[in-house]
């Protein structure tokens, strides 16, 4: 047992930290965007990702034959934690979900077309799983794909496609076989985001970032852009979701919130009395600090279980980590606002807001964290069934 990074892992972590310090750029790094900071949604952020690519930091876990280095998953974990700590965009959908799924299940043509672009940070993807009637019940997706000569015609709607307004390609689940059981009738497609049949509508959120819904009208997709086997789409999505929990919900933003709250309590005072002298506040800090350490432990447990990229997917470890850390991430915001009292409500950016309203915005922005990537309740169902062996409960 060893809770420290190995010398190689530590050297990599140090290298990443030093590189991030050298390349510090407020236009690219904005931790106040909370979980939205991972998006590669501006030209500056795209340029930043190309620099990461040039360092060889994209696709590190991929097989060598596809341009990877076959490292353990812990290197991607170290990189993503460091990126999210400073609010930089992360390696996420492309390297993780889409790249890894294409490597396992894609055609030679798809691999040749997309994998080099992913490694060079020349392509951004949007994910299209959720629909108005397919939220937690993701397998209920109804977007219709009808077979025609040479391809498929898609009609319907997707929702919560956060990257739709800047991505190049759309990774979409659609129902190709409506007569089959719902989990077996879905296939995955790749569609250029500028397809004229796609209409993107922005949906402003309670955070400062936006998401989108996307309408499909007679969108033609050639046969070559159906991924893997017809009807296996939901299995591919589930397999990749274990990886998404790993890359899309890093712990650094939660740990940073805890650090900021402690720093605030250490420096602020009320009626001339330092907040840190208040026994009620001290008890709250002890709890938050403890739970943050537990979340860190769960993340270490998860990353160690995920180390072997060819091994069994660490489903329970992923769910337990995601459940605990996202619930905690919200709780840190609530505790911080409670500690601030009335001043806590001042909107982000206002001069008089404590910490310039960082927690006012984080309180809003983190509301999505216990929903996206599988809600807390879905995680509990997964833990109950796959970890404890309890019967299906819904």
């Amino acid at each position: 047992m060893d809770f420290d990074l190995t010398p190689d892992e530590q050297a990599f972590s140090d290298e990443v930290d030093a590189w991030l310090a050298e390349n510090h750029d407020p236009a690219v790094m904005d931790p106040t965007r909370e979980n939205f900071a991972q998006l590669v949604d501006t030209p500056e952020r795209r340029a930043f990702m190309k620099k990461l690519a040039a360092k060889g930091w994209l696709g590190m876990t991929w097989p060598k034959e596809y341009g990877g280095q076959e490292t353990h998953g812990i290197y991607e974990f170290i990189l993503n934690e460091a990126l999210s700590r400073v609010g930089a965009p992360q390696i996420g959908k492309g390297v993780g979900i889409i790249g890894k799924t294409l490597i396992r299940h894609g055609s030679e043509k798809q691999k040749r077309e997309f994998l080099p672009k992913i490694l060079a940070a020349e392509v951004e993807f949007a994910l299209g799983y959720s629909e108005p009637q397919a939220g937690s019940d993701a397998a209920n997706m109804q977007l219709k794909a009808v077979k025609v000569d040479g391809g498929w015609v898609l009609n319907g709607q997707k929702i919560w496609t956060t990257s739709a307004h800047f991505a190049d390609w759309y990774w979409v689940g659609a129902r190709t076989d409506p007569e089959k059981p719902k989990h077996d009738g879905i296939s995955l497609f790749l569609i250029p985001m500028d397809n004229p049949g796609l209409e993107i509508q922005s949906m402003p959120t309670i955070a400062k970032d936006t998401t989108n819904q996307v309408f499909f009208t007679d969108v033609f997709v050639p046969d070559d852009y159906l991924v893997g086997e017809r009807g296996r789409g939901f299995q591919y999505i589930s397999e990749a979701l274990d990886l998404e929990r790993f890359t899309l919900y890093t712990l650094s933003p939660v740990a940073e919130r805890t650090r900021l709250l402690i720093e605030y309590v250490r420096s602020a005072s009320r009626d001339g009395v330092p907040l840190r002298k208040d026994p009620r506040i001290r008890a709250r800090i002890a709890r938050i600090s403890t739970d943050t350490a537990v979340a860190q432990a769960l993340s270490k447990r998860f990353v160690c279980a995920a180390k072997d990229v060819h091994g069994k997917p660490p489903t329970a470890e992923a769910s337990q980590y995601k459940l605990f850390s996202t619930e905690l991430g919200q709780r840190v915001c609530r505790e911080a606002l409670d500690v601030m009292g009335a001043a806590g409500q001042l909107r982000e950016g206002q001069d008089e807001a404590p910490l310039r309203g960082r927690f006012e915005h984080a309180y809003r922005a983190t509301a999505i964290d216990t929903l996206g990537g599988g809600s807390s309740e879905v995680q509990k169902n997964i833990i109950a069934r796959r970890h404890l062996g309890l019967p299906k409960n819904f």
Binding site: I262, A283, I285, S289, V294, C304, Q320, K380, N381
Partner: protein, 372 residues
């Protein structure tokens, strides 16, 4: 980073589990409830013979000098089995106090015998209506000639009847000191206190109890430092014990939830109950990993001033909360003495309250975050 145990560590865990299964099944645990000695002789003998009693004692004193991480594995098993033993008070706390602060004579008199299980030493710490911090130690040790004379009352002294010596925290002109006191000495009165967890605790009244200066452990005024350092390392093991207990309580409850049916469905098919169990399991796994991290850091010689109170607070609260929902899932039968879940439920809260209360642990953590 690598969170796997070594082959050797797994063997120790398996051996401990096997010994406990044979010598400490739940019938034995039940038989020991409220017992004035408080531990089964057969089990204690095995713990001594297998080297578990001496696992934290240096080889020079006949022990095997294992790390806190190795001990944490054993404590998880003790927790799973609800094993009533004086291991914690004697082989962990007393051994550590003597090692850190005892003189050569005290060490050679006691350490080997503690490590074989032959002698039992137990701390006498808490006092009526006083806190578990240094200001709570009021029992007076008055210098008199070359001796000290101790007067006052201690509570929550585990296994005092069976103990060969008490280690009494007392107030002297120098501050707080630790004294070795024979529980059978004139002026010492023991009265068993019945507890929530039906373990073996005593109220100890000392009336003009005279001990020689050589009974003092460590330099004058260093008692609290010695005691709190021993307890700080020790509570990591109690956290491991709590995790073991919570894990076992959840296991038997999950099995029950798979078979017991209501409304034609197994209980585990009700989402409200399944989610209780999923939450409990998440907290157990998080707590367990953090316990290992604390124990591992201690084994590396690093400070665990913050991690130790964190793991005690989190693990014991997890145990308490987990057994509460287990009681709920077992339903009415869990309320009866006959079913086993209540054994865990009562011990969980007792462990949570003991060896630094939740509020004291919070303060130890907050001091690290806010005052350091």
């Amino acid at each position: 980073m690598d969170l796997e145990f070594s082959e050797e560590q797994r063997l120790v865990r398996d051996m401990t589990r096997a010994v406990l299964a044979e010598h400490c099944p739940l019938e034995v645990v039940r038989r020991m409830e409220d017992d004035p000695t408080g531990y089964p002789a057969g089990l204690w003998k095995q713990i001594g013979e297998l080297g578990l009693a001496g696992m934290l004692i240096p080889e020079a004193h006949g022990g095997s000098a294992q790390s806190l991480l190795d001990a944490a594995l054993v404590y998880e098993e003790l927790g799973r089995a609800l094993a009533p033993t004086p291991h914690f008070v004697s082989c962990v706390l007393a051994a550590r106090i003597l090692l850190e602060a005892g003189n050569e004579e005290q060490r050679s008199e006691w350490l080997a015998r503690i490590g074989s299980g032959e002698a039992i030493l137990t701390p006498a710490w808490l006092e009526p209506d006083r806190s578990d911090g240094p200001s709570g130690v009021a029992l007076a040790a008055r210098p008199d000639g070359g001796d000290f004379v101790l007067s006052g009352t201690k509570r929550h002294v585990p296994f005092a009847r069976a103990a060969d010596r008490l280690i009494v925290l007392a107030r002297t002109p120098a501050g707080i000191d630790l004294f070795l006191v024979d529980p059978n000495a004139p002026g010492v009165r023991l009265a068993q206190q019945l507890t929530l967890g039906s373990d073996c605790q005593y109220r100890v009244d000392l009336r003009e109890v005279r001990v020689p200066a050589s009974a003092r452990i460590g330099a004058p005024g260093t008692g609290w430092e010695t005691w709190s350092a021993a307890l700080r390392a020790g509570i990591v093991l109690l956290a491991a014990q709590a995790i073991g207990g919570a894990e076992r309580a959840l296991e038997i409850t999950v099995e029950y939830a798979k078979t017991r049916k209501q409304f034609d469905k197994p209980l585990g098919a009700f989402q409200s109950l399944a989610h209780y169990m999923a939450d409990a399991s998440t907290r157990i796994e998080g707590g367990r990993t953090l316990v290992y991290e604390a124990a591992w850091n201690h084994a590396q010689g690093r400070s665990i001033a913050k991690l130790a109170p964190m793991v005690k607070l989190f693990a014991c609260e997890t145990y308490r909360d987990c057994t509460r929902v287990c009681q709920q899932i077992w339903g009415g039968v869990g309320f009866t003495i006959e079913y086993d879940i209540q054994l865990f439920f009562r011990r969980a809260e007792q462990l949570h309250l003991s060896w630094w209360s939740p509020a004291s642990l919070e303060e130890l953590i907050a001091a690290q975050d806010l005052d350091a």
